[in-house]
Symmetry: C2
Subunit: 477 residues, 2 copies
């Protein structure tokens, strides 16, 4: 990305981060007031404030009410950030299904300590009120809803989703929303609506293993783009790719990409969209973690910046409310009809009662209260987990600093073998996700992902400690 | 099909049918006893009995307890059977999605008299006990089941499905069953597991419009096979096709094909499987109407005859119990892993609570009682509907004699335009399915399908009468 496309607040944020990294600004130090920053750098008050809030969202600064912004305290041990992934020379044919299926099977086995699958524990999600809504709808209106619903989904649910989308400047009418069986079906519909077998899809590296598996089953190739562990996709690398290769679509996380947990700034999102517009390449965005932000406010999805002209938005309630209900959605503006046709062809329509229950839950206003509590739990879990990782893993370990979601990404030295660690860990009753399933070209074998989606307790803490011990032992050999 | 592959009882059944058709055996006449038939034709008692039971299943004979078999009374007006469809010279690229989507939209509009969509009315299905099971599971165990279930589906449900399959000699273990979002997803998984875009799939003509739509979305071609309105697929034509064309798979109804409602005899099923085995072509069978038989016992699916070696079985509870729950399943023996991989890629897993509820409902034994009642209602509906059709439609109308399911297929003279009738009928608040959506090459424009899935009442009766009147008016012009 060129300087011309970087917004002023991003440049300032970079400057302050550098001052912290080189020790000019010490942990705990109060940074200059917003007014001082504004005067000193010749920017408006709002740009100065935006600079600090961006750094707060990234966990670099903390805000103290009525006092100002401070440099965040480093955590125990202060593991460095993972490296930025390198670019690939060409698109990869994906062959990952066996590894994904095996991992899912281990992850669903309750005997293992559950760091494997990025799914929150049902107990932790506390979906009582939603379950009661489902029970009520089934008892009172079971016969009425025992029909094929419209392929597009129940109108009441589409209306609630459209209302919520407005809050992040994603302007929707209920007619723009298509209900899906989770975000996975949304991604399948999006990919089949814009690409045909043999086409290339640009993806983040590392990226969500399920996306890679879907690409494989649809006969699509993956082009892996470099991703910065805090800033997200390297927009310059994307521009270079599109200048030289035919790419049918990009499939990126909107926020808190899995497994890194980073978020792109608004400036970078706009720059990325400008590059895509130049080459007329559609973007499929997966915002499934978007509601699980740790910063001040929910970051906007890409679609909020381009109005959906060439962006297909996919999300679900699976990470924040109800993985067991399988309710996701997709919005595709000019391609809505293509998406509905595919929904009809692949699964006809969704189950009606779960849609009615989720619509009622959303209409009650309970989702916001629920999200506040869930976000706090995930953030606390990650703080705990990071602390224990820093105390137990080899000192060379690098660790992500997620600003949302509930997964942690660890990078060990190049020769480390997370597959060997995986086999050892399973013997000790611990499951996690080895790094290579996050890459179409099976990179990241020295990395691993830990999910913090279960309530923190001694068993979980002990699991992280023992995993760190196993990693130390492997490195010492 | 050559005589050598036709079983003895089929030959005898043909002989008796001919004697009825030419008036040798009059309606209401008692046919010779089983013993007499056995002696006269030199066949075993069991073959003689099977002959009569086959004719009973086809509605040609009726059995009277302690008395014997009688020639069934002709219905009022006695409309002739529809013609056997002709063979096509080549495979067709399918382009039907717009017509299917439009029809579904009209069909889901409760303002219209509902002859359009082959879906039973929720009130008629009386799913109270199932809904209560869902409500109970949601209230008591919502948190426990608020997880991603296994992609293959809940073990308890797979176990119940395997148990029921045994009754029709479909030998299964729970590990052979994969739960899907209705039969539509089952068909999608089956098709993508055995075919790639551009491949040809052999289908019945006429066939289920949803299958054609799925073929179109997957980029598959359809080869339309002739179907006899009582005996089903022309096995000889299938043999000729496979001898000359590369066909990736066949996709046929197991029983009571939609829209004809006919059933193949066991002899014909075996002969068909022998032809497929000769050319090593897999069969995808859709048994979604199988539980809705009007004869003595549930006809077996194809898979019961070949043990599943090269047969993929698809079904659901949507026609008989719970269209709103979206629970189907697929069994694919040697291809189970391929099917699970695709389920995982396209929709990850099914909603858990609806699976738990259906499993509990099946385990309670309530499904058999439920089916007995639903079958009687559908058969009564069809008798009513056929009577009113014969009284109101033009005398040249030909009409199917369904032996299961709940749809009726009407064929009018060649120049009749069911699309024009459709437009007129909509103006009068009546919806039905025009014939051309049942063909990849848009044949059957002179035909139409009426669904009898709603409880019979004056509104429904009046709808059939007015539709018949409209058809008469069009023909008179």
């Amino acid at each position: 990305m060129t300087a011309a496309t970087t917004f002023r607040y991003e440049q300032l944020a970079g400057l302050i981060t550098a001052m912290i990294d080189n020790g000019t600004l010490a942990p705990g130090a109060r940074v200059p007031s917003v007014r001082t920053l504004s005067i000193r750098h010749g920017v408006s008050m709002s740009t100065a404030l935006k600079t600090y809030r961006t750094l707060e969202d990234r966990g670099v600064l903390v805000a103290r009410p009525q006092s100002g912004f401070y440099v965040a305290a480093p955590r125990n041990g202060a593991f460095a950030l993972p490296s930025m992934s390198r670019r690939r020379a060409k698109a990869s044919t994906v062959s990952i299904s066996g590894a994904v299926a095996a991992l899912l099977e281990y992850s669903s086995n309750r005997a293992f300590i559950p760091f494997g699958c990025a799914v929150p524990d049902g107990e932790l999600l506390g979906s009582k009120r939603l379950d009661v809504a489902l029970a009520r709808a089934a008892r009172r209106e079971g016969a009425r809803y025992n029909v094929y619903g419209p392929p597009q989904g129940e109108l009441s649910l589409r209306g609630e989703i459209a209302k919520r989308a407005m809050r992040v400047e994603h302007m929707l009418s209920p007619d723009d929303v298509v209900i899906t069986s989770g975000c996975t079906e949304a991604l399948t519909l999006a990919l089949t609506a814009v690409a045909k077998p043999g086409d290339t899809i640009a993806v983040e590296s590392p990226t969500y293993m399920g996306l890679l598996h879907t690409l494989e089953m649809l006969g699509l190739k993956a082009f892996e783009l470099p991703v910065d562990p805090t800033r997200g996709i390297d927009v310059g690398a994307l521009a270079q790719l599109l200048a030289t290769e035919r790419v049918a679509a990009c499939a990126f996380a909107s926020n808190f990409n899995n497994p890194l947990g980073s978020a792109m700034s608004e400036a970078d999102k706009r720059a990325l969209l400008a590059v895509l517009a130049r080459y007329d390449v559609p973007l499929i965005e997966d915002d499934v973690y978007g509601d699980l932000y740790f910063g001040r406010e929910r970051p906007k999805p890409f679609v909020a910046f381009d109005g959906g002209a060439n962006t297909i938005y996919c999300s679900s309630f699976s990470k924040s409310l109800a993985p067991g209900y399988r309710i996701g959605w997709i919005t595709a503006r000019g391609r809505t009809q293509r998406v509905i046709e595919r929904k009809l062809a692949f699964s006809l329509c969704g189950a009606v009662l779960p849609q009615i229950a989720v619509a009622e839950f959303l209409a009650s206003g309970a989702y916001d209260t629920h999200l506040r509590s869930v976000r706090r739990v995930f953030q606390d879990n990650l703080v705990h987990m990071a602390r224990v990782v820093e105390a137990s893993f080899p000192p060379e370990t690098k660790m992500s600093r997620p600003v949302g979601g509930f997964v942690l990404w660890l990078e060990l030295p190049k020769h480390f073998d997370s597959r060997a660690l995986f086999d050892e860990a399973l013997k000790q009753g611990i499951c996690f996700a080895p790094g290579d399933v996050f890459s179409a070209s099976r990179r990241f074998r020295n990395c691993l992902r830990l999910s913090a989606g279960h309530g923190w307790d001694d068993r979980i803490e002990d699991g992280v400690q023992r995993l760190g011990q196993l990693a130390r032992e492997q490195l010492a050999q």
